[in-house]
Amino acid sequence: MAEPKALMAEPKALPPASGHDKLMIGQSKAGIYVAHAILILGIVIVAFPIYYTFVASTHSLQTILRPPLPLLPGDRFVENYSEALFGGVGRIGGVSVTTLLFNTTIVALGIAIGKIIISILSAYAIVFFRFPLRMVFFWLIFITLMLPVEVRILPTYKVMVDLGLIDTYTGLIVPLIASATATLLFRQFFLTIPGELVEAARVDGAGPWRFFKDILLPLSRTNIAALFVILFIYGWTQYLWPLLVTNRNDMNTIVIALKKMISFADADTEWHLVMVTSMLAIVPPILVVVLMQRWFVRGLVDTEK
């Protein structure tokens, strides 16, 4: 558990002159300064817009509309945030950001968990069972990798309309739930599980379900965690499908609502609330990444075998 912490640790001071043993072979001291300069530049480029959004979210609409925008946070933090979270935003029919966050959380969780369940089960079937047309099914799944959601969006939409699933969580989640990528990922992982382990479990009296529950799931923990992070963010940032399948304002996801809040006319847009919503939209994915990063990193780098 030491490695992930090291990643999060604050950048350490440059090693003292005597600390050459800490340097990588062939690395000069000047090289370290250059590397750090580049890293810091990168961080500034990425972080500044987010900081600026935060600053804007703490000023009144008038301040925002009268450039230049100050570089330091204003005094309207509490007012702006409580207005957005609990009051409702005018341009999206008075729906509060709390509702939007709730919707998006349901959708992102639904997509992430649903995708994991479906893909781990299909990978389990494909790797550990011999049944007719096994390879055909595998290739069918594999081929769908090459089809983006956009290609099948019209037929899918038609199906959703016929089933009356417009403006429902089911309609938002289910069409996005099948995942060839995750299935392949689990398949590759399952293939690395030694055959002897499977046989040992059989000798120990574990049937297919027990083997899955007692051996496969615990071994897949880190993979599941890594996938969860990726898929949660994938679900959270979905744009096209939620845009099509929701009409009611109170069923919008936060990304769609954000788009709706912005009018062509600058004066008509409640920019301070847009900024607040942007900030709030960023928070959950960040939380997921930060809280799960330990697992995420482990899932990507090592397997417990």
Partner: protein, 348 residues
């Protein structure tokens, strides 16, 4: 507790490859049967068929008098120790051992009692809370054994369990497995390609080659009377010296006893050779001239690698030797230590 009976067991794979071509072995109760042979001889396949991990293409396998062809590994009441141990990496040692019992619905306190008793037998008590990756190779091996023992099955199956250990540990574990098997009195089948393991462990030794049983019997009987040139060269280290006979005559031979039947091969073990002209006065044996090509002193004994009789032979001499490379030596082997094989490789 149980006998294992194989009757004309065959294994044909989907591609038409016949891995086991009709094997019949009867393993008595409480015996340790070792299947030995070179890789690809079908010994592992045979073991896996007994375990129920491979289907049996033809013939029957019975455990305790009951034909088990159609039933799965769980119901056969066997326990298996795998080459790579196959411990569940995410479970503690305790859970690794308890898992099979839990799946069989054994009561919790009974599981605890048995796991702790087994751990005590194998000196694993202080490791029960560790995970497999925190253990050394030898300890993992013990846990794998413990997982088999704790279930108290009818039959133990060992699939080359010692091949991943270093030589010293292997010797240690070999002795331990033997005494444990004696103590528990569980019928066991043990697969190995190591002839030393086979010799020292077996009550019943089965030498396999190309999917068939080449010879079956007590280890020392097989050592003393190998049924074929294959067995002769497989059992014993270094292997038996085999030299070709042409028309009942051997090249370089000074004296050669009467050749029995229509033998085309003469064999004698390295340890049955006597070196030097004054070795034995009896002419009733094989005496031939050999040129020393190499000398390997091991300490307690030395091996002389020689060219003789139109082939290569190894001669074992006790202790150190003054023999040098290039020396010409007379080699003597007594009549009763000679083995003769026919043109089909079988003993005559």
């Amino acid at each position: 507790m149980a006998t294992v009976d194989l009757k004309d067991v065959r294994k044909v794979y989907a591609g038409g490859v016949e891995a086991v071509k009709g094997v019949s072995i009867a393993i008595p109760d409480k015996a340790l049967c070792v299947l030995v042979g070179p890789s690809g001889c079908g010994k592992s396949t045979l073991l896996r068929m007994i375990a129920g991990l491979e289907t049996i293409s033809a013939g029957t396998c019975s455990i305790d008098g009951k034909v088990v062809n159609a039933i799965g590994p769980t119901e056969r009441d066997i326990a298996m120790v795998f080459q790579n141990y196959a411990l569940y990496p995410h479970m503690k040692v305790y859970d690794n051992m308890a898992y099979g019992l839990r799946n069989r619905g054994t009561p919790k306190d009974e599981i605890d009692k048995r796991v702790r008793a087994t751990a005590q037998t194998l000196e694993l008590e202080h490791l029960l809370e560790r995970r497999p990756r925190e253990l050394s190779g030898g300890q993992r091996q013990r846990v794998a054994m413990g997982r088999a023992i704790v279930r108290n099955p009818k039959v133990f199956l060992f699939d080359e369990p010692l091949s991943n250990l270093d030589a010293k540990l292997r010797g240690q574990m070999r002795v331990e497995i033997k005494s444990l098997q004696r103590k528990l009195g569980v019928t066991s089948v043990y697969v190995t390609h190591d002839q030393l393991e086979a010799m020292t462990l077996a009550d019943v030794l089965v030498v396999m080659n190309a999917g068939l049983v080449e010879q079956l019997g007590a280890p020392l009987d097989i050592y003393e009377k190998p049924a074929s040139t294959f067995v002769a060269s497989f059992i014993g280290a270094p292997p038996m010296n085999l030299l070709p006979l042409r028309g009942g005559q051997l090249e370089d031979a000074i004296t050669l006893p009467e050749v029995s039947g229509n033998a085309t091969m003469i064999g004698f073990r390295p340890e049955d050779c006597e070196v030097g002209a004054d070795g034995a006065t009896s002419s009733d044996g094989l005496r031939l001239m050999a040129r020393v090509d190499g000398v390997e002193p091991v300490g307690s004994e030395s091996f002389l690698y020689c060219a003789a009789g139109g082939g290569k032979i190894v001669v074992r001499v006790a202790g150190r030797t003054e023999v040098l490379v290039g020396d010409q030596l007379p080699i003597f082997a007594r009549r009763e230590k000679l083995h003769f094989f026919g043109s089909d490789g079988k003993r005559v």
